[in-house]
Symmetry: C2
Subunit: 204 residues, 2 copies
């Protein structure tokens, strides 16, 4: 007889699936599966179906590549947004992080990654041609590069800057400096040095 | 227009569902949902359906209440197990923890909780009558109480002991003491005291 580790193949499969998620080990997976067992049937059906509906139904914005339920995302289709500014981000999560600040009223462009030769990701794998096309055709005055400060992020920013500088568009990058609430004492020298170099007029 | 926080209602629903799990916040939930988006469609379908299949298909062993795919769990239906010993545990997880040690060859009885007046759980809410019935009808010589040492656990153990002492059965409890790898210095006084009181003959 096949020795079932969890006495139930159904439980074992559910634990396997939870454990396939990043950051969830088999002990947590078992805890989550047993948690679901205590929930009403209709809740668990809704739980399982929500992921199936997401994966099968999701679309990407035809303009900026953001995830959406329609052909165009809520930002691109919002008539109140400033369509002359495009903020270039690496991922959907970075898009959401900036959007959640409530400080930005322009459009976005999701690259879908950054140039990383180690991972075999070159410029052709990213949505760079589409960005150039948007700048050319959509009356864009400024492109903000909001990529990470890793070597790959800086490489990608430089690559985009070279491409964009051929066009009639202002290219800017988000400010680097000491974060709010950070101690100067514990800020790395490079960040602190940049924050002094890029100092600006005091205002309240 | 309804302002969608995640630009996609499908994504929002999936994040809501992940965030409904214990120990998973909204940031982790978003990370998990976006992880699923990168997986092949058939994997995500299998992922979602595994929980639906578990919740709708699961059964509980008619003898010991353990989770199973059949009417009787793999332990109760195993002819090589010693059917004269029953180990009483609070939950399915405790059942699995003891089973995983590979040190126990008897049967189990899953109580389904412990007596906890604060949470409104009394003896009638637990599978106690069924345990008494098993002891009476199934030729049981020993019942091992493997409940937690919390006040509720001790209360439940005492309650079960009183009930079982009326029957012709030996009642034992798992050993408490200093765990393997634990420093004596950092072991609490109560545990250390018990480990001295319950010392036994040295053997290799």
């Amino acid at each position: 007889m096949y020795k079932q580790k969890y006495s139930s193949q159904l439980l074992e499969k559910a634990v396997d699936e939870f454990a396939s998620l990043p950051g969830i080990g088999r002990k947590s997976a078992l805890r989550l599966a047993l948690h679901l067992l205590k929930q009403p049937v209709e809740n668990v059906n809704r739980f399982g179906n929500s992921f199936i509906a997401l994966r099968n139904g999701v679309k990407y914005c035809s303009n900026c590549n953001m995830i959406t339920d329609d052909n165009m995302c809520s930002v691109c289709s919002d008539t109140h947004r400033d369509k002359s500014v495009i903020c270039v981000v690496e991922s959907i999560r970075d898009f959401l992080s900036i959007e959640n600040t409530g400080q930005y009223n322009g459009l976005y462009h999701v690259l879908g990654g950054i140039i990383s030769p180690m991972d075999g990701i070159g410029p052709a794998d990213l949505s760079i041609d589409k960005l150039i096309e948007r700048v050319n055709n959509q009356d864009v005055s400024e492109v903000i590069l909001a990529l990470s400060t890793s070597m790959e992020g800086e490489t990608t920013s430089f690559f985009l800057y070279k491409k964009l500088s051929e066009l009639n568009v202002k290219v800017s990058t988000i400010a680097r400096g000491v974060g709010f609430g950070d101690d100067l004492e514990y800020t790395d020298e490079f960040t602190l040095g940049k924050s002094i170099e890029n100092r600006h007029t005091f205002k309240i």
